[in-house]
């Protein structure tokens, strides 16, 4: 039984306000979403790490035409640099630019129960 991070564990952590990632002991890559092996070097020895809850916006966009069944418009999707990893999430309110400081503010859940972290401007 592997103890490598799973989607279920990652999601549970997101619901608790924590972001989990993986660090490769062989090449040092840190990533923000779970995999069975390091995408850079293939190592299976990935260690689960807790990512910082504060970071900076790496890139962002505001979605004006949403996919069904979302009806809300004008929400911002951000990719946030948290230490050595990056994580995609939704901005809860306000508007941020690349380089702005943000912190984890909670989570959103889609129509099938999948979750994503949310961030708020610092």
């Amino acid at each position: 039984m592997s103890d490598r991070l799973t989607h279920a564990e990652w999601s549970d952590a997101v619901e608790d306000g924590d972001l989990l990632g993986q660090e490769c002991p062989d090449c040092g890559k840190v990533q923000g979403t779970p995999k069975a092996a390091c995408p850079d070097c293939g190592s299976r020895g990935l260690e689960t790490v807790e990512l910082p809850s504060e970071g900076t916006v790496y890139t962002e966009t505001t979605i004006h035409v949403p996919p069904a069944p979302i009806e809300e418009r004008g929400y911002q999707v951000v990719v946030v640099q948290l230490g050595d990893a990056r994580v995609m999430g939704r901005l809860t309110d306000g508007e941020v630019d690349i380089g702005d400081s943000v912190s984890v503010s909670g989570f959103v859940e889609d129509h099938e129960g999948y979750v994503a972290p949310t961030f708020a401007a610092e």
Partner: protein, 388 residues
Amino acid sequence: MARAAVVGAGMTKFGVHDTPLQELFGRAALDAFDDAGITPDDVDAFYFGNAMGGQTENDTHLGPKLASHVGMAGIPVQRYEDACATSSNAFKNAVEAVEAGVHDVALVGGVERCTPETGKDTPEMTRIFASASHRQYEQPTGLTFPGVFALFTQRHMHEHGTTEEQLAHVAVKNHGNGSLNPNAHFGKQTTVEEALDAPKIADPFRLMDCCPFSDGASAVVIVSDDYADSFDAPVDVSGIGHATDVVPIGDKDQPHVTQAARDAAAQAYEQADTTADAMDFAEVHDCFTGAEILASEALGLVAEGEGGPAAAEGRTARDGDIPINPSGGLKAKGHPIGATGTAQIVELTEHLRGDAGERQLDGVEQGVAHNLGGDAATTVVTVMEARQ
């Protein structure tokens, strides 16, 4: 030495088609047969691409249906699905099989319907397109496909100072090119002002930065290098590269550099024993204006960070030093997902034969096609040249 040669090419007009998939594909396939001067009996295998027929039309296991419709039942048929790189992946595999001596003659093509003729409206099609982003780590944010390329483009703007006006120049150029292409979805020219006034879709993209939902089909007949000389006007496939990048976007090292395109281009140029500088023109995957700018840099056609200025200065226009998307590109020609890859091969073939009608570029001998799938994590790059 060529890896294979294209000896027949056909495509439908891209746009809105109230036609079942087999009939739509049949038009492109029969045109490709006629262009090559062959019958279905001459074809050894069919490599087929369709990305979303299961979701959009409740229509799966399309390979044998299409083969039966065009008189090819009995031969091996395989379907490829790789988001927007679907039929270029079919093409790559067909070229490899022909080069390996498995087949002498293969039909390669794709078909897709994405307009409301499928019964799906814009929010539903936006959801289906977004299925090419990561289900667990991207879709829950409400990300759309314009959003994916908006994230890349915003970072490119941050790194290189690319502007919304430069993006608009890509749209203006490609609409202008599309107006010369009878198969293009949009035949109308536009202006920078119109593009910058259009409603926002996903920052920095406005409506005119985005390709349309289109229906259409494309097909090519390919043959082995040795067999090619027995056909009229063969066009050689001299290199094909295919690479993937890390998914999801958050885990990519530098999302805006589209590493898979760089890797695929390096492979294709090396196989063809050529360089980016030797390309006379390019068809690139401009699903959004920003995507064309990223592609022009990833393929080495312009310097790093120069994609925006190159478009604004006319370097990528028909009369520029490296014309990009003379067909109008996905932006104006249209983007029926599974048909897009082989449609780029059709465009290269017609131009290299000197057979592209009103949009023909002067004196082109070598060209490159770039077709990406998903968040650019799949990219296929093809180099073709006129057979001497």
